[in-house]
């Protein structure tokens, strides 16, 4: 078996109606910010007021259970809302991680107490998450994490450091992956996940500027920080399995191939003037790939909807999608002879510059393309 099945995405008239509602909502919410002037950050800027407005509309954590404030909406409905936000470059940075993966993970494996404490706040747009995975010595090799969780009376003491943690400085909680026991032969044993309140004494967060000039990721230091027993997430020692189950959610969304959409929109406006055949052909080529990637991403959402765990399909999608989006600026420069300038008044020039500056992160964050290809290689039977 060396193929991956991407079944036909499920589609209903209800999803089209929902899409239209979301568009109308975004037009109203973002009316003071013309599309061409919306910043090109990954998953959008941090704007708690926007997150709260989205929560009031019932579109945050909408697939979470009703008992905890959600709407039991389908994965597909949630996908439509999410995709529209990403495409519009809405300021969704505050809630993006909690909405995409932390909430669903807690709903699946959290205790009743954890669900009652956290899920209603995620739904209200009032509780933001970050994910503590990478460390200074553990990037792609996640199983080598050295942050320790020591069992003490009433809970755990955490020591170590996490790095490249997006949004940590603005988050209420981190889902921390730490070593709570011996690695064992597989290296995957002895890892556990914890829900860490970012205000815990002994947790220090320092933002790091990325090369595009944004303060998005952080270094987070744990110095004898106490986490109560009640905040162990899932089973002790099952952290690896739990983390990998999140990956289908983390890797398969439209944010993995839509980051160049804003630049393509600017290109379309530029093509209103007489333009070269090469630039029209390139626009078409980029849209062709976008269309095929969208179908694959919606197909993964349909698999999730049917209760599967399509982590391999998600890896395939993320590899293809991020390589595609990373190329966008590089390819467009060949058909429009311009010098990139983020300060330019010309929307196209500024979009080009911003997209280019952000491009290295596409194929790194959320699993490097090399890690994904090794996963895929194992699956297709390369031994």
């Amino acid at each position: 078996m060396n193929t991956f099945d991407f079944p036909r995405p499920l589609d209903t008239p209800g999803l089209h109606a929902l899409r239209a509602e979301v568009r109308q909502f975004l037009d109203e919410q973002l009316q003071d910010e013309p599309r061409s002037r919306r910043p090109f950050t990954y998953l959008g800027r941090h704007d708690p007021a926007f997150s709260a407005a989205l929560g009031r509309r019932g579109w945050l954590g909408m697939s979470l259970p009703r008992a905890f404030g959600g709407r039991d909406a389908s994965v597909l409905e949630r996908y439509v809302v999410h995709e529209e936000l990403v495409a519009a470059r809405a300021p969704m940075g505050a809630h993006a991680v909690s909405e995409r993966q932390s909430g669903p993970l807690i709903a699946r494996i959290g205790t009743q107490e954890q669900k009652q404490l956290i899920l209603p706040r995620i739904v209200a747009g009032d509780c933001f998450f970050c994910i503590g995975m990478s460390e200074p010595g553990s990037g792609s090799d996640l199983a080598s994490v050295r942050t320790r969780a020591r069992r003490v009376a009433g809970g755990w003491r955490i020591d170590g450091r996490k790095i490249w943690t997006s949004g940590a400085h603005r988050s209420h909680y981190m889902i921390l992956l730490a070593r709570s026991g011996d690695a064992g032969e597989s290296r995957h044993a002895g890892l556990s996940q914890f829900l860490v309140d970012m205000k815990t004494p002994g947790v220090t967060c320092s933002p790091l500027s990325n090369m595009a000039g944004e303060e998005d990721f952080n270094e987070v230091v744990f110095d004898d920080a106490f986490v109560p027993e009640s905040m162990l997430l899932g089973q002790e020692g099952e952290g690896w399995k739990q983390v990998t189950s999140e990956l289908a959610l983390e890797r398969s969304g439209p944010e993995r191939f839509l980051s160049g959409l804003g630049l393509l929109e600017e290109l379309v406006d530029r093509l209103q003037q007489p333009s070269s055949d090469a630039s029209v052909v390139l626009l078409g080529r980029m849209l062709a790939h976008l269309n095929v990637l969208r179908r694959m991403s919606r197909s993964v959402a349909s698999l999730l909807h049917a209760g599967h765990e399509p982590s391999l399909q998600a890896a395939v999608l993320k590899d293809l999608g991020t390589v595609y989006e990373q190329q966008t600026a590089d390819l467009l420069r060949q058909v429009t002879e311009l010098e990139p300038d983020v300060t330019s008044d010309d929307d196209y020039v500024a979009a080009f510059a911003q997209t280019l500056l952000r491009s290295p992160s596409c194929t790194i964050r959320g699993g490097t393309k090399e890690v994904l290809r090794s996963m895929i290689a194992r699956h297709i039977g390369l031994r």
Binding site: N2, T3, D5, S36, V268, V280, L283, G284, L287, G381
Partner: protein, 368 residues
């Protein structure tokens, strides 16, 4: 599973059995005749013809299995063209076969009435399998809406100039000067739509040939030992082969969406717009690019042995290199997408993308 889905699977199995019966002999030949005679006798070419007209009544999506089976085998077979040809004939209420019917772009033909009949003049370029066809169905624009279908029978074969694609599949040119033809009714698709049908079918063939080349490549690198290790243990080998697996998945997904688009246009009574299908255009761009990338990855993994005539890899890669340029290459379809989507300006771009199978301006045209 519906009856016709089940029938699609059975016909694919039947095609597999015929391919197995012919074995390697069918692969290392450029003559499609023996295999095709067996296939034609089984009635498989009428798979897309409505049941009332004597066919199997499959949807295009359900023909994926048989198209893929033939493409995986790396054999010369006009089955893809025959499926399109018989479908078109049935839509024009012409009787089925016998033999091989091939549809082609006749936009260069001029029809005239002469002594009680109709004659055609002009050139039909690179018509697939023309020398083997019993009838050609040429779409001719006569200035009255959808093109009419001119039927050319076998008696015109003396006008053939032989040509072939890289895999030796016949791609012949016919120069007609006042040759008698029979004219059927209006075609359900225009010339662009016929190209789109062909492109969708080529996408299925490309996806299947890539999947088969991947399978051979995985088998080879798991066996071949160099520097004391299997090739599959080198990351420098693993990663390109993994990329090929991702491209195999993307091309299959795209190919299926192209077939689904034909069915959707048909169901919506919108076949006349098929030539502007975003799904088919996208699929051909992505499959065309992947064809070259995957041919290159598999040849590199096989090394010198894959470059020999004796080895079977070239039966797949020559076809990949041919099919990507047939029925519109990546530039053709990219240009069409670009021209369509540029017209709406930036604010219309995303709404148009999410309309999926219908490009800008199209949904309104077909709205009831």
């Amino acid at each position: 599973m519906t009856n016709s889905q089940q029938l699609g699977i059975e016909l694919a199995d039947a095609a597999e059995r015929m391919l197995a019966d012919f074995g390697p002999a069918a692969r290392h030949t450029q003559d499609p005749t023996p295999l095709w005679q067996a296939m034609a006798a089984s009635g498989i070419a009428g798979a897309l013809v409505p049941e009332l007209a004597g066919g199997a009544g499959l949807a295009w999506r359900e023909a994926e299995g048989m198209l893929s089976a033939v493409a995986r085998a790396g054999v010369p077979s006009p089955l893809p063209e025959a499926l399109v040809g018989e479908w078109l004939a049935a839509r024009c209420e012409a009787p089925a076969g016998p033999g091989l019917s091939v549809a082609c772009d006749g936009s260069d033909l001029v029809l005239e009435e002469r002594s009680g009949g109709i004659v055609a003049s002009g050139t039909l370029r690179r018509v697939p399998w023309a020398r083997h066809a019993t009838r050609l169905l040429a779409l001719v624009n006569d200035g009255a809406g959808m093109p009419c279908v001119a039927v050319l029978d076998q008696s015109l074969h003396h006008t053939l100039q032989h040509g072939s694609n890289l895999a030796g599949e016949a791609r012949d040119t016919l120069v007609l000067s006042g040759h008698r033809v029979r004219v059927l009714g209006r075609s359900p698709v225009d010339v662009d739509g016929l190209r789109a049908l062909g492109a969708a079918v080529r996408c299925v063939q490309i996806a299947a040939a890539i999947a088969q080349a991947l399978s051979l490549t995985v088998e080879h690198v798991n066996l071949r030992v160099q520097f004391g290790r299997r090739l599959s243990q080198f990351q420098a080998v693993q990663h390109p082969v993994a990329q090929m697996a991702s491209l195999a998945a993307a091309t299959r997904s795209a190919a299926l969406s192209a077939l689904e688009a034909i069915d959707a246009h048909d169901a919506d009574g919108a076949l006349e717009h098929l030539g502007r299908s975003f799904e088919i255009a996208s699929a051909k761009v992505v499959c065309g690019e992947a064809a070259g990338q995957c041919a290159s990855i598999s040849h590199q993994a096989f090394g010198a042995i894959g470059f020999t005539m004796e080895h079977g890899l070239h039966l797949l890669t020559r076809r990949l290199w041919s099919w990507r340029d047939e029925c519109g290459n990546e530039t053709h379809w990219s240009r069409q997408i670009g021209e369509t989507f540029r017209t709406g300006g930036s604010s219309a771009l995303w709404p148009a993308v999410t309309l999926a199978r219908y490009p800008i301006g199209y949904a309104k045209e077909i709205a009831p």
